[in-house]
């Protein structure tokens, strides 16, 4: 049965896939960044269809904001002509194998995860949205350490970026 949700899901999935392909296939670094954004938006759409509004919005906020920074650096630190003569990498079979392996891993873990559902009065399965206060609470109690580690990683990346763009002869 074709429901609007299914249509929307296919649309979101197509966006995700198209964006992902765009990232790896374009020669233009700015295009790649834009395509990445499209892929991220597609993922957000999928989240939304799964009633994970919070996750979807986080996706938009973090990646929307982050991609801007990526593009900024792409524009500032590279020249488009740097990539014109880039040929296809000869190691693509290995890359394909690795990609397939990761895909398999992700798919297996997704299939293996049970989704909490309840049944409403009419007997249809309804996904219960996660309560946000519970989400917040578990983030800052049970998962506080991973949360902080993640932010630390971002900090390190930030400092790394700053260090990378500085020449050794720079002042102060």
């Amino acid at each position: 049965m074709v429901t609007p949700s299914l249509v929307l899901f296919y649309a979101a999935a197509a966006l995700t896939l198209g964006g992902g392909l765009g990232v790896v296939m374009t020669r233009n670094i700015v295009y790649a960044a834009f395509a990445l954004l499209v892929a991220m938006m597609g993922v957000a759409g999928v989240f939304l269809l799964m009633f994970a509004e919070f996750l979807a919005l986080v996706q938009v906020l973090i990646y929307g904001g982050a991609i801007v920074i990526v593009i900024l650096f792409a524009l500032m630190l590279t020249r488009v002509q740097d990539f014109e003569h880039l040929s296809d990498n000869r190691q693509w079979p290995i890359a394909a194998v690795v990609a397939a392996a990761i895909f398999g891993l992700l798919a297996a873990s997704t299939v293996g995860t049970s989704v909490r559902t309840t049944t409403d009065a009419a007997g249809a399965t309804v996904r219960t949205p996660v309560a946000f206060d519970a989400l917040g609470e578990s983030l800052f109690t049970q998962w506080a350490v991973p949360f902080e580690v993640a932010s630390l990683v971002l900090l390190v990346a930030l400092i790394g970026a700053v260090v990378l763009v500085r020449t050794s002869g720079g002042r102060d």
Partner: protein, 373 residues
């Protein structure tokens, strides 16, 4: 010509930006090529000549009376000051005695012209720093002055009013009452303009400490006028070499301290007040009488050469006149204040931000008609 090579903080490529000749903030057809590193200017190179009409050469082919019209078109916002400089030069060469009333009319009109010019600067400078309203305030005042000019000279901009030996004609009967009204309006207008922009925190943040130039450098570059006075040099041709009848008036010369954009701006605002003072005194001192000396229609100054400086709104406006005794100037060199002031631009732009470029360029108040001639 490299302004100053900065120590780089990141390994980047400079972006070359061509500001002008079609750019809203270059005040005419002026082009400055700037190389920026991020938002910082590494190098700036001004290009002029887009408005070069060969005025000096054209003057050599015109009668003395016809040259005046060409001078109108040099500094086209302070036309009367240009006319005055030329007429003074010819008069000096001919050792002409200008009637008192004519001198007073000249001074009144020139000072009005100075206010009008500074008002234009005020408005445009507001736009340069991103404020929208000042230009309308400035132009309101300027419009009032030009209304009066129209009634006196018959033209709003290209007056052709000051003549060798005097002025074209006497003032109209309604001049005095109109002038009285205008003076009141201007007094209030200048205060309003001052209130609107001068002490605005953001305006201060944009102009204080930006584009500084010290007195020694300023003199070295030949910077004159308000831009020089802003650097703390007390130099005003009306004071140091009084021409016409300027020694009869009591007026102040505003002098800045830091030589930054704000000082250059405020010196001009203050100058408008002083101009009003001069006009008031002149109106009080003026007496009826002839307005033109007895000069032949086709003037033939004696052979010789003379250099005359006047204080135009932009600075030291000099006319170097070489006469061979004929009815046309043999050689006429105009020392345009904007031309010399603009040379300092490269120095002023060192280490500035892109946004400062506009503010700095605006603060030296150039008129391209005069720069290129």
């Amino acid at each position: 010509m490299q302004v100053q090579q900065q120590a780089r903080t990141a390994d980047t490529i400079d972006l070359m930006i061509n500001m002008g000749p079609q750019h809203p903030s270059t005040h005419g057809v002026f082009r400055v090529v700037i190389w920026v590193d991020g938002e910082r200017i590494v190098k700036a190179e001004p290009h002029i000549g887009y408005l070069h009409r060969g005025s000096e050469k054209l003057c050599e082919g015109e009668l003395y009376s016809q040259v005046i019209t060409l001078f109108d078109r040099l500094d086209y916002v302070a036309n009367l000051n240009c006319e005055l400089a030329f007429c003074l030069a010819v008069e000096k060469l001919m050792a002409l005695e200008v009637p008192d009333r004519a001198s007073y009319i000249r001074v009144i009109l020139c000072e009005l012209n100075r206010i009008a010019s500074h008002m234009l600067f005020y408005g445009v400078y507001g736009l340069d720093v991103g404020a929208m309203t000042p230009i309308l305030y400035g132009f309101r005042e300027r419009e009032r002055i030009q209304g009066l000019f129209e009634s006196v000279t018959g033209a709003r901009m290209m007056h052709n009013f000051i003549r060798v030996g005097g002025v074209k004609e006497d003032l109209r009967d309604d001049f005095e009452p109109r002038m009285a009204v205008l003076l009141e309006e201007l007094k209030q207008g200048i205060e309003e303009c001052d209130d609107l922009l001068s002490q605005n925190e953001m305006f201060l943040a944009r102009t204080k400490g930006i584009g500084t130039i010290g007195p020694t450098e300023a003199i070295d570059f030949g910077v004159t006028g308000p831009s020089l006075r802003a650097s703390g040099v007390l130099e005003d041709v009306r004071i140091s070499e009084p021409y016409s009848i300027y020694e009869r008036f009591d007026f102040g010369v505003p002098v800045g301290t830091y030589g930054d954009c704000w000082d250059r701006y405020y010196v001009r605002v203050e100058e408008m007040r002083q101009s009003l003072k001069i006009i008031e005194q002149a109106m009080a001192q003026m007496e009826p009488g002839p307005v033109a000396a007895n000069v032949r229609r086709i003037a033939r100054p004696p052979k010789g050469e003379v250099y005359v400086r006047t204080e135009s709104p932009r600075g030291d406006f000099g006319v170097f006149l070489v006469s061979d005794g004929s009815d046309k100037p043999y050689r006429l060199k105009v020392r345009a204040p904007s031309f010399a002031n603009l040379q300092a631009l490269q120095y002023l732009l060192r280490d500035a931000y892109v946004a400062d470029a506009v503010v700095i360029l605006g603060s030296i108040d150039i008129i391209l008609g005069e720069v290129d001639r």
